[in-house]
């Protein structure tokens, strides 16, 4: 694994040229033969293995998952991201992610270098939005913890901070200061290392679309959706928790942990029940979004009403 530092790296260099030529050849050839030639994830149809923890609940229709999105960088209405992305967020490659902070191997990596050492897994997760709706989403991704370990976080790395791309050309919602851009999110290091936490690069077996956070996003299924930051460009290991975008916007309403918790109401939305997209009647919301068996121990001894 070659890790280059940010200083001697230009935007144009983040992706190996041969790799990109190969990709083009692949696109020209079409799906069938190319997979064998390139060994890269295919543009349509990713090469995946079944991951652990998948729910057997029926997935929300692809059309709903790709047209009902909260991604304020592409507009505040849920229909905006899918409508605006084709004319603005057209290029999600080349893409690089900067790793910084309390780790032995900081640097900037191209998308391919970040993903390549890992197997892509299919993981069907429930997703619960703080606005009291939910979906079941078949993600394709790699375990976050395995990625983070490659950078050898030190003992001071108590938290991990993620940052979304800031580029008003491609993300026109950032031309207005609806929230304080760029979007920032964070996890405690043990949360980030938990095997449920996923760096997603695909959806429904295909590459992520911009409205879903292309080319790389976080998925933390036991937390409200806004923790699952989209279009990540930076990962930083830190000693202290970040002041996240939503905490800055409304500290009374959005906490750092944002664990799905039916017992702690949001000022605007009761969290006891949720509407699964596509269903008429509401269903009961489960603690940690139904992942309590896996993650509740992370919070033993914590008052989750205070640490919401």
């Amino acid at each position: 694994m070659l890790i280059r530092s940010a200083a001697d790296l230009r935007e144009s260099e983040v992706t190996d040229k041969a790799l990109w030529l190969d990709r083009r050849r692949f696109l020209a050839l079409g799906a069938a033969g190319a997979l064998a030639l390139s060994g890269l994830p295919a543009e349509a149809g990713l090469n995946t293995v079944k991951g652990p923890f998948s729910t057997d609940e029926p997935p929300t229709p692809r059309k709903d998952v790709t047209t009902y999105n909260n991604f304020y960088e592409l507009g505040v209405e849920k229909s905006d991201p899918a409508q605006l992305a084709p004319s603005y967020f057209t290029k999600t490659r080349p893409w690089s992610v900067t790793i910084a902070g309390e780790c032995a191997k900081p640097g900037t990596l191209g998308y391919e270098d970040l993903i390549k050492p890992h197997r892509l897994e299919d993981r069907i997760y429930r997703m619960r939005c703080v606005e009291a709706w939910s979906m079941v989403i078949p993600w394709v991704g790699i375990p976050l913890g395995e990625v983070l370990k490659r950078f050898e976080p030190g003992s001071k790395a108590k938290f991990v901070e993620f940052t979304t791309l800031q580029d008003p050309e491609r993300l026109p919602g950032q031309r207005r200061s609806v929230i304080d851009w760029p979007y920032v999110e964070g996890l405690r290091i043990d949360e980030a290392m938990h095997p449920l936490a996923l760096l997603a690069v695909g959806l429904y077996g295909e590459e992520l679309l911009p409205q879903n956070g292309a080319p790389i996003r976080l998925v933390v299924p036991w937390k409200y959706g806004f923790k699952s930051i989209k279009s990540i460009v930076a990962i930083r290991f830190a000693e202290t928790p970040s002041r996240t975008a939503w905490m800055k916007a409304a500290p009374r309403e959005y906490g750092f942990y944002a664990n799905v918790n039916p017992a702690v109401d949001h000022p605007r939305w009761s969290q006891g029940a949720e509407r699964r997209i596509g269903e008429f009647l509401k269903r009961k919301t489960l603690p940690f979004n139904g992942y309590a068996d896996q993650v509740a121990s992370l919070y033993s001894g914590m008052d989750l009403a205070a640490n919401f």
């Binding site: 929300t60 047209t67 505040v76 229909s79 207005r176 000022p267 009761s270 029940a273 596509g278």
Partner: protein, 218 residues
């Protein structure tokens, strides 16, 4: 212009225009145009139009005073009743579609969520206005009392705007536009009243000779 507005076909046309949002909603619902969360979309659509009709009804008097088109005064009741109709539909979609008649949940929400409390107060306050909108009720109450009652709309409309404002998560553009329009509409009345009072004070000797309105004094 005023003459044109008095034509017999104008009011039925306006009635039909007021039904367009409802028609649009039904059409979108039938064609799948309400998106992944049709219940939320329906609720918001009806709420938006309830508020817009309230503002439109409140715009009638300033419009008449500004333009001298006295004919528009004849639309006011209809527009107000359309505002009420969209409010009732919005309320019904909340109770029936969103909460599916879970009255205990609705009760908790009314008590707990301030924006829902305000919305509910607005709905309740609108009911007497709708009930007294007939000619018979107007006669029974007497013009002055009727007018005093219907000034409740100056409370209801701000409640509606506040209800929307507090519900919005972050982008307050739309509620801010509604608030600005409301401020202009109410401000107009305030200024008109001050001027009227000023005129009445300076012209006190002749004020008595102004013919009283036909309503009996309380």
């Amino acid at each position: 212009m005023d003459k044109l507005l008095r034509q017999g076909w104008v009011k039925p046309l306006l009635f039909a225009v007021c039904l367009i949002p409802l028609g649009l909603l039904v059409w979108r619902g039938a064609s799948g145009g309400l998106g992944a969360n049709p219940i939320e979309a329906t609720n918001r659509f009806l709420g938006d139009w309830a508020l817009r009709f309230l503002l439109i009804a409140l715009a009638v008097t300033p419009l008449r005073q500004m333009t001298g088109w006295n004919a528009v005064a004849r639309w006011r009741r209809m527009l107000g009743l359309f505002a009420f109709a969209y409010v009732v539909l919005h309320f019904s979609s909340y109770v029936g579609l969103d909460q599916f008649f879970d009255w205990s949940a609705i009760g908790r929400e009314i008590v707990k969520r301030r924006y829902i409390t305000l919305g509910m107060v607005a709905v309740v306050l609108l009911i007497p206005l709708a009930l007294t909108s007939t000619n018979a009720m107007m006669r029974r109450l007497g013009g002055r009392r009727w007018q005093a009652l219907h000034r409740l709309v100056y409370v209801i409309a701000p409640l509606g705007v506040a209800h929307h404002w507090m519900m919005v998560k972050k982008d307050i553009t739309e509620p801010a536009i509604h608030a600005a329009i409301l401020a202009v509409l109410l401000g107009w009345r305030g200024v008109a009243r001050l001027r009227h009072n000023g005129a009445a004070t300076t012209a006190r000797p002749t004020a008595c000779s102004v013919p009283q309105s036909s309503s009996p004094s309380p």
